[in-house]
Symmetry: C2
């Protein structure tokens, strides 16, 4: 195993750059941290370029890393790479999956969601609900942000999570006769009245302003969740959960 | 209006102590921060002891504070009271509502939820779903923690949110013929098969370990949400949202 001691090492510098969205976008790579996420990443070995291990961390006995190279670094370098305060000292350098236009029956489209916890939780929920693909529109927080990765608890490696132009996707899905359900507070129907089918796409939007109005004009039907009490709205990840499970089980 | 300049002032010291759970429990008081939460708190004026305003903050013109006293403090004191990095410089000192045993048709019982964002989001969701009362069991994060208050977006002031002994509550609800639905991964029925009625209580649990096993033996029926994909579980606030809306709309 390679051992790197200096944080001036060009490879260390390159890994540290992956902590910025700009570098992730440029290189098409991202970094995951912690035993669980590294293990999940290794279920797609072809997309793992390298494992980085702190000198203070043991490689877990059962970890199937195949022929993925492992580099050991000092505890100090490990801390510099970490996004968490008490890092487990294990990282994987991963390739972002290619943006293929695969086919599926069920989709979650996400417009301009800002909070990393919300985005990660929605990816995790889409995975749980058996959704085939998540499309994250421009204007959302980066899906490879460390906090998004942590909140999603490995679901990035379970289903395709792509960034894309939502307007184009809505047109494409509609052309394929897949109904696209927008979410809106006005001019919609109660979700329990939705014209549900086995195939669907759900479109959710920004925490404050909801889904972009122009996108809502392109959908098949817009749904709302009734508010029975005095709160003004629901958290977007909770709303996505209610709707995804409704559409999935009411079909 | 009173004006306090020194952070050595005994009243300032007392307010600062309210940032700890210990002092909140001891005094039965809590602090809310920001325009929106202060406005919500003032919908229950009897429970607001005082408004604190930074010298750099204007009292919003429409704010109906009745005869609640307003104290102006220096910007430095305001920052010391704040939980947020960029505070709006307005606070309310509130009384925790009395733990009355009011009657209602629908309840959310929360066992040992640790994350403030999850607890706050569940209180907000219960409000939206028109739930009559939330009971937070011992072992959960403090419901008056500033982050819980922010995530709940004012719902603390919309419905009774009480701390209580969940075991006793389950017995009491059952005696009143209100079915208590636990949530479990094993030995439950799919939630869409629940024996729903107009009255119900939903019991959700800890992020990692779920609901305490002993509590689950006391429930009427235990429900689970099927996982169709590869994720191991759902976020507890998302699960609570799916189940509350299902129980509310399927009745």
């Amino acid at each position: 195993m390679k051992y790197i001691q200096s944080d001036k090492n060009p490879q260390v510098k390159q890994w540290k750059k992956l902590k910025t969205r700009k570098e992730r976008d440029k290189t098409g790579m991202f970094l995951v941290e912690g035993f669980h996420l590294v293990e999940e990443a290794l279920t797609r070995k072809d997309d793992v370029e390298e494992i980085i291990l702190s000198e203070k961390t043991e490689l877990p006995p059962g970890l199937d890393y195949g022929s993925v190279p492992v580099t050991v670094v000092t505890d100090d370098i490990s801390k510099q790479l970490a996004d968490t305060e008490t890092t487990q000292g294990i990282f994987a350098v991963c390739r972002q999956p290619k943006q293929t236009h695969t086919t599926g029956k069920t989709y979650l489209l996400i417009d301009s969601v800002q909070d990393p916890g919300n985005l990660g939780t929605m990816i995790r929920t889409a995975d749980a609900a058996g959704i085939d693909m998540v499309i994250v529109g421009k204007g959302s927080v980066d899906m490879y942000n460390p906090k998004v990765l942590r909140s999603a608890q490995g679901s990035h490696f379970h289903l395709p999570v792509l960034s894309g132009d939502l307007s184009e996707w809505i047109v494409k899905l509609s052309a394929d006769h897949i109904p696209v359900f927008g979410t809106a507070l006005e001019n919609g129907v109660v979700f329990t009245e939705a014209d549900t089918r086995e195939t669907f796409a759900l479109l959710v939007g920004n925490e404050g302003s909801g889904v972009n109005k122009e996108l809502l004009t392109k959908t098949t039907q817009n749904l709302y969740i009734p508010i029975y009490g005095q709160s003004e709205s629901l958290n977007v990840a909770v709303a996505a959960g209610i709707l995804l499970y409704y559409l999935k089980t009411a079909k």
